[in-house]
Amino acid sequence: MTETKLMKGNEAMAEAAILAGCDAYFGYPITPQSEVLEYLAREMPKHNRIVMQAESEVASINMVYGAAGAGFRAMTSSSSPGISLMQEGISYIAGAELPCLIVNVNRAGPGLGTIQPGQGDYFQSVKGGGHGDYKMIVLAPASVQEMADFVYLGFDLADKYRNPVLMLSDGAIGQMMEKVQFKPYTRPAVDKSWATTGKPKTRNRNYITSLFIQPERMEQHNLKLEEKFKKIRENEVRFEEINTADAEYLFVAYGLSARICQKAMDIAREKGIKIGLLRPITLYPYPYKRLEELTAQVKMMLSVELNSGQMVEDVRLAVNGKVPVEFYGRMGGMMPTPEEIVHHLETLIQYHHAN
């Protein structure tokens, strides 16, 4: 039987990285995720793995580029300002099609912001972040258990699609302690014959690049990437539904917001409001189709986020005006109470009933 442990989200993620066979971790200290680097600095050498505190996030993401380009399982983690610094490298990694795992323990911004949790990096995560046409697969954990599970999933998806995967957590999920189980994991066999390991006489040279100076070749590369992103959209949408079977109203929330909405849902249901929750697990690809289906059933959707209203734009794209889509959010590291959300929900229901 798998042992149950009590761990911080950041440490569970670090432990999962070791169990997932992560060959190298490159990072730079930043609150609220410095435990990852600290944990791995202590534990990785015991497994003969590489861990390095880089001189900056700019350097750490490029060390990931080098290691991933040489065919190794490489990862980095940071928090919002550090992830901003990595955007150049992420764009190059996506352009050069290198598999790797990047974790953002989201804090509140903009700028230096605060070290408290936030979800203000949604747009940066799912709409681009760096320059050029690319997408990352974005996984949003809502528990310490998922912070561990999504390390395995993230590495596997990265290898499967030769694409960077971002785990978008936040300062609360990263810092809180919960029970976690590390499930047995078998690493799928992946062909990495493209890696730069040194050219034997028996094959042509491998090179890792995102440079295609002739427009015709660049467009071909863009189209190849788009084909990959289309496959990802078709095959990798993940979400969780709670109480949607009879729902007349729907919370849409991910990560920490989804945890708070679960409690808000319980309170609202006790009051007789039939509300369900759809929790996107992949923020890219986004569960547009399921949200569109639910418009046949619910009267209103309420997107709850720790930002000024970012994911709500994707909910509106999915719903396409068929039912009202509302937003409620707190910012600056402040979290709404479940009661606060229910109060807002009740006000909205009254408003839409009257109009």
């Binding site: 190298a24 380009g69 150049e88 040194g198 040279r205 090179y207 890792i208 690049t209």
Partner: protein, 272 residues
Amino acid sequence: MPTEEHVLPDTALDLIAPACHDEEEYEMVYHKPSTMVNVVMHYCPGCAHSLVHKLIMEVVEEMDIQEKTIGIAPVGCSVFAYEYMDIDMQEAAHGRACAVATGIKKLMPDKYVFTYQGDGDLAAIGIAETLHAINRGENILIVFMNNAVYGMTSGQMAPTTLAGMHTTTSPDGRDVSYYGAPIKVSELMANLPGAFYVTRQAVNSANAVRRTKKALQNAFKYQQLHKGTCLIEIIGNCPSNWKMTPVEASKFIDEEMVKTFPLGDIKVPKGV
């Protein structure tokens, strides 16, 4: 009207390759290294890059380490180095070559890893990655091509641009009271304990080419020792952006560049 002496031969080729009478009469004394891809390079006439590419690949061929060598191409004129060097390579973002090299070398410590970087790439945007890689004593070779300008973007001022030197962004000459003096990267980096071998060379004459080749041979051999970073700065000719003929550019190195960037060894390991 051309006089009789100026009449061109039937084919221009006759000028450079007089008809070879009998191949068996000649012994092949020089060939392009097998570690080079046999294509025409995009570099300007008189540019140092093609020569230095070839020297590196000659060393890789002589040491028979093609299977163990990974190069990092920069952003700059030599961004397409992987089109010419027949080895596994990674193209790095502008300035990040030493971070990429660190990622590779840490995981494959027994491979030969080198970066190939210009002065804009290494000395401006990438100086942090370079300094920290050397300070960690990453067991890599950094080939630092210093031609005192940004070549690929056509001749802007670099951190290494000589005092008073005219570039497209210092049209009245580099004003050191405004932009500071040219950075002497090799002298700066040689101070770091992680630097194992630091030398500054050129390729503007046959003797200079021989010395550069020797430096590259040393550096590749030193990589087997796992003792620290090798930095070879090469003063590169850039006739196009210096607005000179190739011959003038070679002279400019001897007469002007070496005043700021004196050639020779800066840090040499003892007893190896």
